[in-house]
Amino acid sequence: MFSLTDFTLSVFEGQVFGLLGPNGAGKTTLISMLCGLIKPTSGHFTINGLTYSENDTEIKKIIGVVPQEYALYPTLTARENLMYFGSMYGLKGKRLKEKVDENLHLLGLFKFADKRIETFSGGMKRRINLIAGIMHNPRLLFLDEPTVGVDVQSRNAIISYLKKLNEDGMTIIYTSHHLSEAEDFCTDIAIIDRGRMYAHATPANLIAKTHNARNLEDVFIALTGKELRDDI
């Protein structure tokens, strides 16, 4: 893992900000820091003008996190999982139940609400994972590879839903290895590698600025190279 060096970045309200990079580039480290999971040894950042050292709970109330792992209890039902994680965000009673049902409906999982997560397919788990991170309507949503390992239908459902959330005002910071998905979904993209930022612009600008690039994949290869990343 490369630590992040000389890294300066601003994400504005309403953006869908894509963090792209090869394996080991530092994407998950950056997201983990921004979510308050790990603390940087130097440097600082603010979220909505707040820092974790002084306003940990306030920041956590306005962010939502959808980790790369399913991060669900396999032996609990979808509803039990969502009721629990929703309650941790301060939702309760009728409002909590409504939020759970509403999101299950929107992502096509209502009829499976009382089934255990361990019986779900990868795509279904990804959708529940997403709901668990957005039930409290966060202002800023962190998504770490939210569509990895899912079928096309589930991916469509997830991205469509995320677009709708963004239209409603939610800012999204997102990592992915699906470059065409990122090209379509993100308003801004930063390409990072070995802990450094190589480029930062809109997808169209990145393609335009890169010699002979027809799409984001060409930009990505041009900036990070074709070398395999098998570091342990």
Binding site: K39, P74, Y84, G90
Partner: protein
């Protein structure tokens, strides 16, 4: 905050409910443990006619002394004395071989002419004493003059028998032989002085009486159940560290722990949910074990656990012991990375805490340096508190030091776990 705590407890309850196999193990195994251990330990102390230990007696003497040894051993109701195999008197070589191969646990070899030589030796000594008192002319018989060699009663033990059994048998045989010698000395004096047999009382002048604590006017006699139930209950309570640490490691590997760290919920609520749920389990375990000891033990031929007037204090001790066990479980679950690390470590560490805490061997019987180490085991604090309540009839004030230590142990382990987790999350 209360609602978050409630939901955390509910989540832990649901997780446990969905693992019925685990729950059954959690409740059934301590019961099996306590029944098995108490049955075994009770029979060690109790003289049960159908649990006599067969021993070999090689009688090379065939005199009065060996006859008396035989009768005393039979009378003891602990041993079945075997003097013949296949209708033939046992030889020392046969006895030694049978015992060393583990077929029998003990063989007693009575040497040749023990009775006659003992009598001669006593007559010599008595004669000398009476002569020294100028009573040589009153002697009724002639004093034997020949030198008499010391006699040796040999004991062969199965090498597998425990030292405590060995010591108990050796002390019993020693006592038996001493009594026979004393009796013979009295008889020799009577004989030499020509006194009537009633002149010397041969009953022990000094006897022992155990004074036991009383509650009101009722004597409370400790039995193996009063000792075993608290000790093994504590042992079972501490085994909660295994499912609890596994629960935490699963949360880490599933990613739910990461999600919880990004939620606006203090760690104390997450840990609080676990602590409350697992404390409930500890208390259910405790009450089940007490119920078994009170109601089932008498049906198994064991004395019932006497909880009269002690249940509230016992519950307090169990509750605080549960806190200590949960703190340890949370610490192990935080530090360990895999179930393969936490489960063997948790179980072995619990056994070590039990061993040094005095669950198996009483602390007073340990070497001095181990007695100091024993004081650092939370199981020792819990055990002492239980003994204070059950056997020493202590009040709540008397157990405050022990339960305070148990709670401090909980606070210390939780603090270390939280600090370790915080440190681990710094890049």
């Amino acid at each position: 905050m209360i609602y978050k705590l409630y939901m955390s407890v509910l989540k832990e309850f649901l997780l446990l409910k969905r693992d019925m196999g685990g729950v059954i193990i959690l409740f059934i195994m301590p019961l099996v443990l306590i029944i098995a251990v108490t049955l075994i330990q009770d029979s060690t102390f109790k003289t049960v006619s159908d649990a006599k230990i067969p021993i070999l007696l090689v009688n090379n003497d065939n005199g009065k002394v060996s006859q008396e040894v035989y009768q005393n051993l039979e009378k003891s109701e602990v041993f079945t004395v075997i003097t013949k195999i296949d209708g033939q008197a046992i030889t020392e070589i046969q006895a030694k071989e049978a015992v060393f191969k583990g077929k029998y646990q003990l063989a007693i070899i009575i040497p040749q002419n023990l009775s006659a030589d003992l009598q001669s030796k006593i007559d010599q000594n008595v004669g000398k004493i009476l002569s020294n008192f100028g009573m040589a002319d009153t002697l009724s018989g002639k004093i034997p003059q020949k030198a008499i060699a010391q006699k040796e009663v040999k004991l062969y033990f199965d090498p597998a028998v425990q030292m405590s059994f060995k010591n108990a048998v050796m002390s019993s045989v020693d006592k038996m032989i001493s009594q026979i010698e004393t009796k013979s000395i009295y008889a020799a004096f009577q004989d030499q002085l020509g006194e009537d047999t009633a002149a010397f009382e041969q009953e022990s002048f000094i006897t022992f009486k155990e004074i036991v604590p009383k509650v009101g006017n009722k004597e409370i006699i400790p039995n193996s159940v009063q000792h075993n139930v608290p000790a093994w209950t504590l042992f079972a309570i501490f085994f909660i560290v295994i499912p609890l640490s596994i629960n935490m490691i699963k949360e880490k590997s599933q990613g739910t722990f990461v999600r919880l760290h990004t939620n606006p919920v203090p760690n104390v609520i997450v840990m609080g949910g676990k602590t409350i749920m697992y404390l409930i389990i500890c208390m259910i375990q405790f009450y089940m074990m007490v119920a078994v000891a009170v109601f089932l033990f008498p049906h198994l031929g064991l004395p019932a656990l006497n909880v009269e007037g002690n249940l509230v204090l016992m519950s307090i001790v169990a509750l605080f012991s549960g806190f200590a066990a949960i703190g340890l479980g949370i610490l192990i679950g935080t530090v360990a990375k895999t179930q393969e690390q936490s489960a063997p470590f948790g179980s072995t560490f619990t056994i070590i805490l039990a061993a040094i805490g005095g669950v198996w061997v009483p602390v007073f019987a340990m070497p001095e340096f181990m007695q100091h180490i024993a004081k650092s085991s939370p199981m020792n604090w819990g055990l002492n508190a239980f003994y204070d309540v059950l056997l020493r009839h202590a009040s709540i004030i008397d157990i405050v030091p022990e339960i305070s230590l148990l709670f401090l142990f909980f606070l210390l382990t939780i603090t270390i776990a939280l600090l370790y987790d915080k440190k681990k999350r710094t890049v």
